[in-house]
């Protein structure tokens, strides 16, 4: 059985140099790498920290030089054509645009008014961030703001998750300039949700930014995170500025590593609402120690082309994993969700519900891999993918992929593809709703099942409105 999670860490540069004949195989990727590497670490850090980060970057860069960008010939990218990307030249911005607090205000969450880190084009924006309402014991900052002791501890976690050698993840590491760090000490229960807001300022020339997050939830701790990706143009004029937003061409290549130690709980919401011409590739790499509980609510609304690699690796017994996904796309958007749940120990539970609403000529891809090796006896894994196609040219490719070798387990999976039910529409019309209102109500009902799982009320309202607006 082949397990395609690329479990190897990033190889050592010395080994790499032996194969120098094989480097720079993909000129486009090399150019992208040069752009990202061109950005140096601007943080006020002690030389030791600078040095290990640089070493990490170099090692990743050497690895990227041996890689090529995936094509539809790769099994993992069969349905998602990245060749559009190659038609554009992305530049890494040496300096971020200053954003006024008032410009960012519409994006902030009232429930997380003082529990927010903001990064603009991947660079920490201290004036837009506020963590005043969070407990003092919680460590939350960019790299430079971390207490000294934590800077060295970060080293033990950063870029250590399985799958670090995947080309986009390694590209992110090779150009790492800062990290949003949330470190929850033992037994600390953080009630207030934490908003990690990543804003792109791209407008004219295509740019690339590479946000990076590291979350460590120590044993018995609990935290709620909202990771949010968008373009500043969405803020200024979400309604009338649509044509302008459409022109913002940029590439966000984000990586988030979340490490749950024994008995920790993380409720993770991830929202991708980039502008309509953007490219977004995101990695969520989760490691779960025994008795930990991880929930992901992944909402994908934006970007011309987006991909979410959601990978959960179990590192102990009795873990619980809940993955909720909602993709809602129109026009010519393509969205690909590749999830992996690797259950390696007994008594693990995983529940996955991934829903897609696909309009116009949009295209959704879902590949849900669940690995249950011999060591994972008494696992209980359930997966369901439900798709709502709103037009004859909308398309979905769905592939549940359960690889089970353990013999005493319960694993279920299913996929459904449907259209709006004409009888339901008529029923609503017969009660006085016009056809548009009836469609809207049914589409919202489909989305609400996932949106209602989000931990923050204001965000639920914003997203329901966004879904309605998208499918008007």
């Amino acid at each position: 059985m082949s397990i395609q999670v690329s479990p190897m860490p990033i190889p050592n540069p010395d080994e790499v140099s032996l194969k120098s004949a094989l480097t720079d195989r993909d000129p486009y990727l090399t150019e992208l790498l040069n752009q990202c590497q061109g950005l140096s670490i601007q943080l006020l850090l002690e030389p030791e920290s600078i040095s290990w980060i640089q070493e990490l970057r170099d090692r990743a860069a050497a690895w990227v030089r041996q890689c090529i960008l995936p094509t539809t010939k790769d099994e993992e990218w069969r349905f998602t054509d990245m060749s559009f990307l190659k038609q554009l030249t992305f530049r890494a911005l040496p300096q971020r645009l200053e954003l006024a607090a008032s410009a960012v205000a519409p994006l902030t969450l009232s429930e997380a008014a003082h529990s927010r880190l903001v990064f603009v084009d991947g660079v920490y924006a201290p004036t837009l961030s506020s963590v005043a309402s969070l407990p003092d014991e919680l460590v939350i900052s960019n790299l430079a703001g971390l207490p000294l002791a934590y800077r060295s501890r970060v080293r033990d976690y950063l870029a250590t998750a399985q799958g670090a050698a995947e080309v986009f993840t390694a590209l992110n590491t090779s150009g790492l300039i800062d990290v949003a760090v949330v470190w929850v000490p033992k037994h600390l229960i953080v009630e207030t949700p934490i908003h990690l807001l990543f804003i792109s300022t791209a407008s004219g020339t295509p740019t690339i930014s590479q946000p990076r997050c590291l979350v460590v939830a120590e044993s018995g701790s609990s935290v709620t995170l909202i990771e949010d990706y968008l373009n500043q143009a969405n803020i200024e004029s979400p309604e009338e500025g649509e044509a302008e937003v459409g022109e913002a061409v940029y590439f966000t290549n984000a990586v988030t590593e979340i490490c749950l130690e024994a008995g920790a709980q993380v409720n993770h919401t991830r929202i991708e609402r980039e502008s309509p011409a953007a490219f977004h590739i995101g990695k969520s790499a989760i490691t779960q120690a025994r008795n930990s509980r991880y929930t992901c609510n992944a909402i994908t609304l934006g970007a011309k082309l987006s991909r979410h690699n959601l990978e959960v690796f179990q590192h102990g017994e009795q873990t619980e994993t809940t993955l909720n996904g909602l993709v809602t796309i129109n026009s010519q958007q393509t969205t690909d969700t590749h999830s992996v749940i690797a259950l390696n120990y007994p008594h693990g539970t995983s529940t996955q519900l991934h829903k897609c609403i696909i309009a116009d000529q949009a295209h959704a891809v879902f590949n849900g891999k669940i690995l249950v090796p011999q060591s994972a006896q008494l696992t209980n894994a359930g997966q369901l993918n439900r798709n709502l196609l709103l037009s004859p040219r909308a398309r979905v490719d769905t592939k549940p992929q359960l690889e089970i070798t353990a013999d005493n387990v319960k694993c279920t999976h299913g996929a459904t593809i449907s259209q709006l039910d004409k009888e339901e529409v008529f029923y609503l019309q017969s009660r006085g709703l016009d056809a548009t209102a009836a469609h809207n109500l049914l589409i919202n009902a489909f989305a609400t099942e996932i949106i209602n799982k989000l931990p923050v009320a204001s965000l639920r309202q914003t997203l329901i409105a966004a879904v309605s607006h998208q499918h008007l």
């Binding site: 009888e423 339901e424 029923y427 019309q429 009660r431 016009d434 919202n444 009902a445 489909f446 099942e449």
Partner: protein, 263 residues
């Protein structure tokens, strides 16, 4: 009740309709005035349910001829929602389950669309909540059903009560109850029938579509019509229903065949 000089609510003349090219209605004539309760009975496949769906504007049925006037308007020109807002209500034989839409929200949206039509302001959630709780009494429905998704996981009887609750809220000029008695036990049937009786007034009219006479023990019709092969072939008082019950539909069908033959 039959009211002197009452307003004509519904007037159907030589209505014909088909589904996917198969003629179902072959010339229906019916006049319903305010205050009246009409029962349309007939064997399976006679076109009763089709007739109710055509009146409500179901898109699967194509009207091929005839005329329907509702409160003086040409009903066939209106979209289903316009018919609803104008005061026509169809209680479904099989009400749809709509997961994810709360029953209360659904009722409020439906209620407000009718109010908007009447030129009234939309009612806010607070006032609506009060109104709906009052109307729950009509069908003795548990308020817990309001917070559940529309009809999702409701029993047959609960779904039918929910239909009558909607009718109570929308206060239509014409209520069409399509086989509302099907699948109901006797207690549920009584509750539904009492609900309908409370709602019937000199201002509105009802059409009960039913296969069995049973429902008519609880809701007494002013007129009974017998439908067969897409036409109303006999009309009479409530005694006609009893006759049908004791003789079955065979004689009706024979009569229908003869009539067609003599034409």
């Amino acid at each position: 009740m039959i009211v002197e000089k009452a307003q004509v609510v519904l007037s159907v003349r030589e209505l014909t309709a088909e589904v996917e090219g198969t003629p179902i209605l072959k010339g229906v004539n019916l006049e319903v005035k305010a205050g009246e309760i009409h029962a349309i009975m007939g064997p399976n496949g006679s076109g009763k349910s089709t007739f109710s769906k055509v009146l409500a504007g179901h898109p699967a049925y194509e009207v091929t001829g005839g005329e329907v006037r509702f409160l003086g308007q040409n009903l066939l020109e209106l979209e289903p929602e316009e018919r609803a807002r104008a005061g026509l209500f169809l209680a479904f034989q099989y009400p749809m389950e709509i997961p994810g839409v709360s029953n209360l929200d659904f009722l409020r949206v439906a209620y407000n669309s009718r109010r908007k039509q009447q030129g009234l302001e939309e009612m806010d959630s607070f006032d609506f909540d009060e109104l709906v709780r009052e109307k729950l009494e009509v069908v003795r429905m548990n308020p817990a059903f309001l917070s559940r998704s529309v009809n999702e996981g409701f029993s047959g009887g609960e779904k039918k009560r929910n239909e009558i609750l909607q009718m109570a809220l929308l206060a239509p000029k014409l209520g069409i109850l399509d086989e509302t008695d099907s699948g109901l036990d006797i207690d549920a049937l009584k509750i539904v029938a009492q609900g309908v009786n409370q709602l019937a007034s000199p201002e509105n009219a009802m059409i009960l579509i039913t296969h069995y006479q049973r429902l008519l023990n609880y809701i007494v019709p002013d007129f009974v019509h017998v439908m067969a092969d897409g036409r109303i072939i006999d009309s009479g008082s409530k005694e006609l229903a009893l006759e049908l019950e004791s003789h079955g539909y065979d004689w009706v069908l024979e009569q229908a065949a003869t009539e067609v033959g003599t034409r």
